[in-house]
């Protein structure tokens, strides 16, 4: 709680924390905020631009937000040019009915934060198949944001255990694990990631791919954490209270858990927060080149893969928006990590 107060009193930390909480809140309640299901396509709206939202209709003296229906013409290059059809008005309704989903996976409901009835609203535009990018960003965020947390947590766990054992016992165990660490760290991580992904069959279900990506990312990530925890464990094991615990006949396991690892926790916390971006980017990288989450499931990486061609970006710039979310998230995690480090490092506190 004290840490939380200090984060809030620090401006960059406060902003980062606020944005991240907002993002996580939005993706946890994705079906509530999303007007459509993540795979709800509509060929009539292929690459539809972000829908304009009108607040006031002077002709009809209407003061609630509404949108016009969209129609398109095909120009001489066989491109669709979307236009507003001013004759049809769809008012934006709040807490309206839409597709059915299970709220938090518990009870079924069909309420959504907003909707336009029979019309189509694309807050951030549509993709090739006419799916709502806003919806897909929310659903994709569930994967991208959770992979970061889970992956970082697993590699932290591995790093703590392996680094703790290695540093505490020293000798041969230490030598062996540190050489393995170096081997993992030696290979450029993206190539290692590709190689690991390539060693599994390509046609896996989305859940399998999700788990696989987590495993691959934590396999790459544990090494650097383990090395630093090991260094801390080596200095901590020389503390007199560790000797005292040994003299009391406490088992090695208990000593590591109680008297070594808790002292590394402030470092570990910072390391985790600063490592989460690497996992988010790792997933995005894999999905971008088509080895990660597969369509129709969304992740921020595979949403961006639609923006691989320069023509697409020029004609439909809104398909780059998922990239913006990745950037904002990564920057926020870095800001939060830096703030945490400043708070937890007593030597910096004086500055």
């Amino acid at each position: 709680m004290d840490i939380l107060k200090q984060i809030i009193s620090n401006k960059p930390g406060r902003i980062a924390l606020f944005i991240l909480l907002l993002l996580y809140f939005a993706v946890i309640f994705a079906p509530l905020f999303a007007p459509y299901p993540y795979d709800g396509d509509d060929v009539m709206y292929s690459y539809a631009p972000p829908t304009k939202i009108h607040l006031v209709n002077f002709e009809k003296k209407q003061f609630t937000p509404f949108i016009y229906a969209q129609t398109y013409e095909i120009n001489q290059y066989y491109q669709r040019i979307y236009q507003e059809d001013k004759t049809t008005i769809y008012p934006i309704k709040f807490l309206t009915k839409g597709f059915k989903y299970k709220f938090l996976g518990l009870w079924e409901t069909d309420r959504h934060l907003f909707g336009v009835g029979k019309g189509k609203i694309y807050l951030l535009g549509a993709d090739l198949k006419g799916r709502d990018i806003f919806t897909r960003i929310l659903y994709g965020g569930r994967i991208s944001l959770s992979i970061g947390l889970i992956g970082a947590a697993i590699s932290l766990f591995l790093g703590l255990i392996i680094g703790g054992l290695s540093g505490y016992f020293g000798g041969k165990i230490d030598n062996l694990t540190m050489r393995i660490c170096e081997m993992v760290m030696m290979i450029p991580s993206f190539y290692l990631m590709l190689a690991l992904r390539a060693s599994f069959p390509p046609n896996l279900s989305s859940t399998q791919v999700y788990l696989l990506i987590i495993v691959i990312l934590s396999f790459i990530g544990w090494a650097s954490t383990a090395r630093i925890i090991r260094g801390m464990a080596i200095s901590l094991r020389e503390n007199e209270y560790v000797y005292a615990a040994k003299a009391m006949g406490l088992s090695h396991f208990k000593i590591i858990i109680r008297h070594i690892l808790p002292h590394t926790i402030s470092y570990a916390l910072v390391a985790v927060v600063l490592r989460i971006p690497a996992y988010i980017l790792g997933e995005a990288g894999l999905s971008l080149i088509g080895l990660g989450i597969q369509e129709p499931e969304a992740s921020w990486g595979n949403l961006l893969s639609a923006a691989m061609g320069i023509v697409n970006i020029r004609l439909f710039p809104w398909i780059l928006i998922p990239g913006l979310f990745i950037v904002v998230t990564v920057v926020c995690f870095n800001m939060l990590g830096d703030t945490l480090r400043d708070i937890l490092d007593p030597k910096r506190r004086m500055l």
Partner: protein
């Protein structure tokens, strides 16, 4: 004889070679006595204490035997050692402020030891043992002390608590490695009396390591003089002070009486 050290040699690894810390040390401890081990710093006193519990660092090597209850400690398995440390041989360190984990409360550390060493499940029984042993060591206001963290207590209080922790496991031998060196004189004398009491009450065997001949004079039955890793003299207290044979012992006693004036 409850504990016997036979021909013990310990060497620590330095960067290029091994440096001897103890050379062919042999001594015996009788049940119920207080054996003083005297020597200047670097004479191997603490190394001796650590070897009795087989707690020497990985980078050291050792020869010889330490027999406790007719078992060689150096040959014991890890599990046997865990059962031996604390439960049968307790160790009290020089610096009470650093023998406790600074981030855990005293109560937590007490409970942790009792849970894992004595396997006492019930909270009530544990609390009884904790308060009993704190009373034994004359800790004032035990409730407050238990709630506090190590940095909130004074050296004297902490040393009492660590003695309480050691005797809570009811060991037969207690090794005290310069337990009073970092305390002021009034607290020192109180702690020394405490050791005497414990010996009388529980028939506790105490190995008292010190560089202070004053304490040896009031406390110990027998004295071992260590110098540069070797036993120079092993005698009862009266004889040591009456007719020291070894040259080092004599110079030690001389410098001591010089200070006394």
């Amino acid at each position: 004889m409850i504990l016997e050290v036979k021909d013990l040699s310990v060497a620590y690894k330095s960067k290029t070679k091994y440096v001897d810390a103890l050379k062919n040390v042999s001594l015996g401890v009788e049940a119920g006595e207080i054996l003083g081990i005297v020597g200047e710093s670097g004479s191997g006193k603490s190394t001796l204490a650590l070897s009795i519990l087989n707690l020497l660092p990985f980078s050291s090597k050792n020869q010889g035997e330490i027999i406790f209850n007719s078992k060689n400690i150096f040959k014991a398995k890890e599990k046997e050692l865990e059962a031996l440390r604390g439960n049968q041989i307790g160790l009290i360190f020089q610096e009470p402020a650093s023998t406790f984990n600074p981030v855990l409360s005293i109560k937590y550390q007490f409970n942790e030891i009792l849970k894992s060493k004595l396997k006492i499940k019930s909270k009530k029984n544990r609390e009884k043992i904790i308060f009993d042993s704190l009373e034994q060591t004359r800790v004032r206001d035990p409730k407050r002390i238990l709630k506090s963290y190590p940095h909130q207590l004074s050296g004297g209080q902490l040393q009492r608590v660590s003695i309480a922790l050691a005797i809570a496991l009811k060991p037969t031998v207690l090794i005290a490695d310069e337990p009073t060196s970092s305390l002021d004189v009034t607290i020192e004398s109180q702690i020394i009396h405490l050791f005497k009491e414990l010996r009388d009450k529980y028939k506790l065997t105490i190995i008292f390591i010190t560089h202070n001949l004053d304490l040896v004079k009031v406390l110990c039955n027998r004295v071992v003089v260590l110098y540069q890793g070797q036993v120079r003299e092993m005698k009862t207290r009266e004889e040591l002070f009456k007719n020291p044979e070894d040259s080092y012992t004599r110079s030690l006693l001389d410098s001591f009486s010089e200070l006394e004036g």
